[in-house]
Symmetry: C2
Subunit: 323 residues, 2 copies
């Protein structure tokens, strides 16, 4: 009825609704009549005759109220609420920010449609986090707990991304074959630097994309902040890149293993790879979010594969100049 992962799909129709004008003692009776089973008893929702949400009232207010006080003097007007078609993550953010026990769900006219309890929100937070972990690590979403999932089902959840990513890294292989002459001229030093360069690029990219994806999912960052984030990441990349490049150059110069021009090319490639990886780790998830794609899918293992190709291209181009 409601789209998956929407507030509407999450809400329960079990809640206590009090018509404006009701007096405290009658409201208390309504609570009693609602019976013990209703879970959303801690918060009462005050509406007009068309069920438009006017305010919320904590049950404790009723305990302290005079019997003939009308609920509208007791309620808190303009309560936090979430639209029925909003994403469940928005509901989770509101509950988190305002320490709510239950969150009312309204339609486009402000009519109360249901309530989301904090226990559902806790489940949503845990599920969304598990999904992000899975997507960022090349896994299809799981449905059951680990020990209850068969080896066959686990395999089916892992093979699709492994295949896609294996075949995409064929591209990096093709790139290497295109630089056969550079490899022949530089010998083993260049090949020996490949794992270090690719790993560092991958780590730099996933550091940034993790921070950006997390900030997006916690609502700390919006796609509109792309320039602010990029400027921050570029400064971080320059600091990290030059430090790693310098240490790497010192290592190669002191312990040998490469001619000075090749050591220079490898170290310069390190600097540029860090900058490239961090820029991409910042842009990919933000662009994905802007295009309503999933940042975690776009910026997980796919990022590593792109950074691999980029870092090798930088390495071979610079080495070609150096020889």
């Amino acid at each position: 009825m409601f789209p998956d992962n929407s507030a509407g799909a999450l809400m329960t129709p079990e809640f206590i609704c009090i018509l404006t004008g009701t007096r405290a003692r009658d409201a208390l009776q309504i609570v009693r009549d609602a019976g013990l089973d209703s879970d959303a008893i801690y918060t009462l929702f005050v509406t007009d005759i068309n069920r438009k949400l006017l305010g919320i009232m904590d049950i404790r207010r009723l305990l302290f109220a005079e019997g003939d006080e009308p609920v509208e003097t007791l309620m808190q007007p303009h309560p936090q609420s979430v639209r029925i078609d909003a994403d469940q993550q928005e509901a989770a953010r509101l509950v988190r920010r305002y320490d709510l026990i239950s969150l009312p769900v309204v339609d486009e006219n402000g009519v109360l449609a249901g309530v989301i309890g904090v226990d559902s929100i806790v489940d949503v937070i845990v599920e969304e986090n598990t999904e992000d972990f899975e997507k960022m690590n090349a896994l299809l979403p799981s449905e059951d707990s680990y020990l209850n999932t068969s080896a066959w089902t686990l395999s089916r959840h892992r093979i699709p991304w492994l295949l896609v990513l294996m075949l995409s890294s064929v591209l990096a292989g093709k790139l290497i074959q295109g630089f056969e002459d550079v490899l022949a001229a530089t010998g083993v030093a260049l090949v020996a630097s490949m794992p270090m360069l690719m790993d560092t690029g991958g780590n730099c990219g996933s550091q940034t994309s993790t921070v950006i994806i997390r900030a997006l999912s916690l609502g700390e960052l919006k796609p509109g902040d792309v320039l602010k984030a990029l400027w921050k990441e570029l400064r971080v990349a320059v600091v990290c890149g030059f430090l790693l490049g310098a240490i790497n150059f010192a290592r190669l110069a002191i312990f040998g293993g490469a001619s000075l021009p090749i050591a220079g090319a490898i170290s310069a490639a390190m600097v540029l790879t860090v900058i490239f990886a961090k820029a991409l780790g910042c842009l990919l998830p933000l662009l994905a979010e802007k295009m309503h794609l999933d940042p975690a899918v776009m910026a997980g293992p796919l990022l590593t594969t792109i950074v691999d190709v980029g870092s090798l291209l930088i390495l071979f181009e610079l080495s070609q100049i150096a020889i």
Copy 2:
């Protein structure tokens, strides 16, 4: 006073404690006297004269009770509680599993020391998840939101792991230099297969370690399940490994680029790398948990670096046989 991340550090001393023997109408008066500000009003805690926790009572029970009913007939005995020195994750698991609004914290004698509200648990879950994301992606824990953190602080949080990991991948470089003769004999085909093999190994390892770390943190898996998990992962690895190896062999055989023995060596290395990566991705976090180290730190980027060295060693040893 209490260790970081313990239930004791998380609890609040603000809660309503009712002595056993109290009648419902007096209990209701105690709730009223506690004032509007007390946050933990929804659940009342029934104790004996030594404050030993006997039961909990939902505030709604008081609304339905006869005035002279004693609280011990209204309360729910043997409530869920958490030890004051327990990890906050255990508190989070209990609140999640039993949909609690508040969780009592007791000392070693069962004496009520405080209460943890569901709002604190929501914050704990979000924080612990952020920490796991950070640790698994080579980041030191952040203290502030992304946009509020300076580029300089971000750099300081990223450089330590980047440095450690860059220097560890020097090992992979040394390994490559030791096989210079194999590289010379096989030419560019072997080098071109390195990104594919290293990336696939890294992806396989992080798929498994992600699933294991997540299951550990959700309490679905315990270090004692190590053999069960390993057996599951080995079967998954054999399925994934042989599939990827076969596809890779077909690709090399059809599109060329390597002699058949070398294509065979590369594909066999793929099978063994997948098995090695998945076994390690399973064992590392479980061993870390058993040794009370952090699974997320042990099994994140460190795993990739070890898998790199392992996969290259397998590749070169098999190629040496093939030439």
